[in-house]
C-alpha cells in the first residue's frame, strides 16, 4: 500500500492548535520539539480534569537562546539543539474517520514514497522540525 504524502508549505498554521504534545510553536513559523529529562506528575481527582489545564510557562529570552520552563515550583533551564535528522509532522489531509491527529517522525521518508492510490486519503507535511529544546538539567526550586 502506498500512502501519498504531499509536501506543502506549512499549511495548517491555522490548525496549529492541534499540534501533538511534544511540539511547540515558536515565533510565527518554527515548530520545535521539547525534550524533558524527567516526567510530569499530574495529580487530578479524575482523569478528565486534566484537560485544558495549565502545565507551565515556557519562556524564551530576548536572544532566543535560553529557554526556561516553569512547572509548578520548578524552574527548568534548557538549551536549543539542532536535530541531527529533521522531523516532519504529518497530518492526515482528509479526515474521514474520527481519528485523531497523529504524528510520524520520519525525516527521510519525505518525498520518497509518492503514490496516488486512495485519493481520498493522504498525508500532508504540516511542518518540519529542525531544532529541539532540551531541558536536561536538574530543575531549580522557585518560590511562588
Amino acid at each position: 500500500m502506498i500512502i501519498p504524502i504531499t509536501v506543502s508549505p506549512p499549511l495548517s498554521t491555522g490548525g496549529g492548535s492541534k499540534l501533538p504534545p511534544p511540539f511547540v510553536k515558536v515565533s510565527h513559523e518554527e515548530i520545535m520539539l521539547i525534550e524533558l529529562q524527567g516526567s510530569l506528575n499530574v495529580k487530578a481527582a479524575e482523569p478528565g480534569d486534566r484537560n485544558g489545564k495549565l502545565v507551565g510557562y515556557l519562556r524564551m529570552d530576548e536572544t532566543g537562546t535560553k529557554p526556561t520552563l516553569e512547572i509548578g515550583h520548578h524552574l527548568l533551564e534548557g538549551k536549543i539543539v539542532q536535530l541531527v535528522k529533521p522531523i516532519a509532522v504529518l497530518s492526515r489531509l482528509k479526515i474521514v474517520d474520527s481519528d485523531k491527529l497523529e504524528e510520524q517522525g520520519e525525516g527521510e521518508s519525505t518525498g520518497t514514497d509518492k503514490g496516488e492510490e486512495g485519493g481520498d486519503k493522504g498525508w500532508g507535511i504540516s511542518a518540519v522540525v529542525k531544532r529541539k529544546i532540551v531541558f536536561g538539567k536538574r530543575p531549580m526550586p522557585v518560590a511562588q
Binding site: 524527567g38 516526567s39 510530569l40 506528575n41 495529580k43 486534566r50 502545565v55 512547572i71 509548578g72 520548578h74
Partner: protein
Amino acid sequence: MTSLLDILVSRFPHGLGSSSTKAAPVAGSFSCNTTYESNFASEQIGGPISARTFDGKAVYFRRKSKKRMGSSTGTTTVPANHVSKLLDVPIHRMLCDLSASVAARLQTESSEQESTPSSSHEQLQEHTLWVDRYRPCRFTDLLGNERIARDTLTWVKCWDWCVFGRRSKGKNKAGPLDEYLDQEDEFRRPLQKILLLSGPPGLGKTTLAHVIARQAGYEVMEINASDARTGSVIEDRIRPALESGSAVGSKLPVLFIIDEIDGASGAGENSNSFINKLVQLTLYKPKKQRGNSARGPQTKRPLLRPIICICNDANASVLAKLRPHTYHVRYSRPADIHIVNRLRYICGTEGLKVESRALSTLVGVARGDLRGCLNTLQFIKTRNEDVTESIVRQATVGMKETDLSLNSILNDIFSPMSRKRVQELGLTEEEELRYVGRISHEIGGSGRESAIAVGCFTHYPMMQQHDSKFSRYERANDWLVTYDIFSSAMYSDGDFTLMQYLPYTLVPFYPLFSERGAQIERNQTDWEQLQVTKANEEIYKSMTRCLRNSSSTSEYRHLLASPTLELEFAPYINRIICPLIKPINNQVIRSEERAVLTRLVNIMVAFDLHFLLERADDGQLTYRLDPPIDIFITYDGKRAADIPISRYAVRQLVAKEMEALLVIKEGIATEHGKGGKPPPNGELHALFVILFGLASEYDTDLRCRAKRGADQNDESGPSKKRARVDSDNIPVDFFGRPIVVKTSPVNERSTEKKKVEDFRITYRFTEGNSAAVRKPVKVGSFL
C-alpha cells in the same frame, strides 16, 4: 663505617708512612679534589677506604691489590688526575714532586713567620678570646661526658643513608640507640628528625654540635634563634638551604644548627611562629606522586638534612610543641676534675701561674661553666696577676649568674645558704653573714621582682616564728607596702630608675624569716584565683552576648557597660529570676502566682537565659542555668541568704513555659520574616511588642492570638509546633494527662481534602542510572 672507627684507622701510623703528623698536610692539600672521589671509587674494585682525620678532613686509602701484596708500594693518599692508568709520569714520581713543593711552601711560610715581629703576633693572640682559641676542634678534644658526644654522633650518623646514600656499617654493632633509631622511614631518616641538645650555659653544647657535624662530613649552617626569632626565618633561610642540600659554594651537605632555640617565638598558637614552622617543616610528608602533576615552586619538599637545636632549658614552654619531635640529649656538667685539668693545661700554655686550689674554687663558683672560667682566667691574665684563690674570688663577683628559678630564689630568701654551697664558694663566716649584696643580686638578676614579691607575700605568714607582738610580720608588711609603692610608681609613671631599688625591699625577708630547713612549697593560690577570675569574666562575656542576641531592640544595651553589668545588673537579675514559686500544676496555679511565673518566663526569654536539663555526677537530673550567672551569688559553696534556691520542679515548670513561649515567638518571627509584608492588622505587631517588652501584661488572651498567628503560618510548617501550642490549652486531668482532643484532627483532614482537590502538576527530574550495587542485607549483620 662509623667515624669512630675511622679515627682508629687514621691513628695507625704505618698506614700513612712515617707518621700521621707528616701525612696530614699532604692529605689536606688534596682534600679539595673532591670531584675525583666518585671516579676513583667506581674504577677501583672494592673502592678506597675513606677515613677522617681528627679535624674532620677526609683521607682515602686505596686497597692493596692482592697481586701486589709482596711489593713495597705503600698506601697512598688521594690520587691525582686519574683519568687512565697510562700516565706519562708514574704516580709515585708525581707524589714526590708534590710533597717536595709542599715542603718548599711550608719552608717559605715558616721563614716568613720568623721574619714578622713576634710582638705583633702575640698581640693578635691577645685579641682573641681564650674561649675561641682553645675551642676543641676535634672529636677527641671534647671535654665532658663522652657518652653524650657519642649519642649525638650516632644520631648524626643515622642520617648517612639519607644524605650520603650509603648505609652506615657501624650498625652491625649492637647499641642501645640502634633499635630505637632503626625505625627509619621512606627517606631512610631517623625517627626523630631533630636533635635537641639541652644543658646549662658554657659547657660547650654549640662546640659539640659543630665538631660532630664536621666530623660526620657536613657543612654547618648556624642560626641563632635569639636573634632571628620569627617564623619567616625558616622560610627565608632554613628551608632554601635544606632543600638545596648544601651551602652556596660548598659541596658538602649542610647541617643546620639552631642555637638558643628557647629564645625563638612559638609559645602562642600562632601558626607562623618559629617553632610551629619548624615542626611543620619536620612533619611534612610528601604525597604520593600523582601522574605527572606539575610541581609548582610552592610544593614543599621533605626535610632531608639533619637539624640540631640547642637550648638551655629543655622544659621551656616555647619548646613544648617541638619536644615530641626531637631526639633529646641532655648535656650535663662534667666532673670538676676534668675541667680543672683542662684549665690547668690552658694556663700552662698561656704562661699563667695557677694554684690548683684556685682553679677548683673557680670551677665551683662557676658551677662547671667552662666558658665563664676561661673568661675569668683571661681577665686575670690581662691584669698580669697570678691566679690565687683571693683573686679568683674578686674576679668572680660579677660573674653571670646561671638562671635561677623562682623557687630557688625564694628558698635563698627564706633559708640560709647551704653549708655545701658556702664551702664551694669558700666564704668565711663573716662573709657568709653578709647577705644584702648576695640576695639583692639574685633578685635583681632574675628580673622577676613582682613574682618574688608575690612569693614572699604568700610565704611569710607560713613561717613558724615565735613572736608575741607580731612585730616581724608588721615589718615584713611594711616592706611589702614599700615594694608596692615603688613598683606601682615605677609602672604607672614610667619612672624606671626605681628599678634598682626594688630588690632591696625584698631583702629584709631574709633576716626576718630565714630559717634553716625551711621548705618553700610553690603556692598556687595566686594562679588559681587568676583562673577563677578569668572564668568569671567569660561568664560575663557570654551573658553580654546573650543579651545582645536576644534583644533586637536596644532597650538593654545600657546594661552592658562594664561596671554596670557587674555591679547593677548581674546581682539583681539573680534575685529577679529566683522568685518564690511553689511547684504546682500548671492548671491549678493561682492567678497571682501565674502572673509571677509569666513575668519570670518573659524576663528569662528577654535576656536569653535558659535552664538546661543535665544529669549530675550522682545521676540526678538537674536544671542548670545557662549562662551560669548564679555562681556570682555563690561564695565558697554557700549561697547568698536572701535568695531562695530554685528547686528542680520549679525550674522544670519555668523551662517548659519558656519553651512554649519561644515556639510562639519563633513562629511569629518566621511569619514576619517570610511575608516581608506588614502584618495583616495591628494585632501581630502589638503581639511583638508584648513579647519583647516586659512592660506590658501577659494575659491568657495572648495565647489565643499567638495560636492564631501560628496557624497563619504556612501549612507546611511542622505540625508538631502547632500541636505543642495547642497542648498548652488542652485541659489536663488530675494526673496531668491531656484529655483527648477530637477537634483538631478533623480540621486537618478537611483542609487536606481541600488541598487535594486542586489540580497540581509537578515535574520530576530523572537523575540517570546509579551504579550502586544493591544486595539484600539482613538486619542481623548490623547488630
